[in-house]
Symmetry: C2
Subunit: 203 residues, 2 copies
């Protein structure tokens, strides 16, 4: 199997970290240059009409995109260790926190970066005032996460999950909008250090 990605992109890192946690290593990675527009080429859009990375090419030649969908595939083919939950409540709780970390943090950081920096100005209309709103809202997620981690070892309970991967990758990515974990967020710092010490953090 082959994954088309750009190593520094946070969605690509989510998938690599997920696969490292599952000890899945028989994947060929193909690097693209997003700023050069490798992902908006006609060829790439045949793999993913939405022009987003990562995209996985399966053995039958079909393509799968959306990082969480790629993770879902591997969760189903190799359920252990579980990163998306086992009991109904655990599955739902992980899904809830994964989505919270993505929708109200990761995606806001991404839009904040793109709209403030004009990084993809050749293919979108940056709206800096909107970018600033995103940065402001993203920064509000840190205290929420910190409060939550006061009573929870990991983001979605007492086991490591895809929700931790999304939150961790987002926090590292947040440096592009100059957002760092403040010293006052002691629980968030404790959790960050813990996740950062996992071998998958280097994937």
């Amino acid at each position: 199997m082959k994954i088309f990605e750009e190593k520094i992109a946070p969605n690509a890192r989510r998938v690599r970290m997920f696969l490292a946690e599952k000890s899945i290593s028989d994947i060929e990675y193909v690097q693209l240059d997003l700023q050069k527009g490798d992902n908006v080429s006609k060829e790439f859009k045949q793999m993913n009409p939405l022009a987003k990375i990562p995209v996985m090419e399966l053995e039958d030649g079909s393509y799968l995109s959306e990082s969480v969908a790629i993770c879902r595939y591997f969760e189903a083919v190799k359920p252990s260790p579980s990163l998306m939950g086992e009991s109904p409540l655990q599955q739902a709780n992980i899904e809830m926190w994964q989505r919270r970390c993505e929708l109200y943090f990761m995606n806001l950081i991404g839009m904040g970066f793109q709209h403030c920096s004009g990084f993809f100005a050749d293919r979108m209309t940056p709206v800096p005032v909107w970018g600033q709103e995103c940065v402001k809202d993203a920064s509000k997620f840190m205290p929420l996460l910190n409060d939550h981690l006061a009573n929870s070892e990991y983001i979605a309970g007492d086991t490591f999950s895809i929700a931790d991967i999304t939150a961790f990758v987002s926090i590292d990515f947040a440096r592009v909008i100059k957002l760092r974990i403040g010293d006052e967020y002691t629980h968030l710092l404790r959790w960050y250090k813990q996740v950062n010490s996992r071998p998958s953090a280097r994937a």
Copy 2:
């Protein structure tokens, strides 16, 4: 079990439609008025600190939010009929299309509406020029979906799934930004008519 929602909200409708497809009817629905701010009250934020609906109260008194997480819970407790897929590839394909319909369509319609109308101006900063970008981008998803449905009975293959629910609810919701399925999108119209005839479309 109890679900706190506002009947007209698209995320609330997603859950009701999902439950109707699963013939789950023993749920008490509690109606909130979002424009009045029922969801930003201190009491509500104890159920969901992100202040979003729907929220489900479980029998043990705990709360679950994020519509797809609520659906995931019911998919696990009542797997048949499956709406999130059975084989690994089917699960991944449904996850991919569900996310595409949500990220590049439903969420854009929502932001287009909020930023152009100022509906929630008391609790957010509307950026009309960003709203207009969202409307423009959301409208590009219709031809993509139409092309895809030329060769696919449902959004994620030959069975009805949560991806169809997200796309269907989004299309109805799109009237708030005056976006309708154009007559030229014959495959999308065929699919819409088919989904609209299911009893769950009235849930």
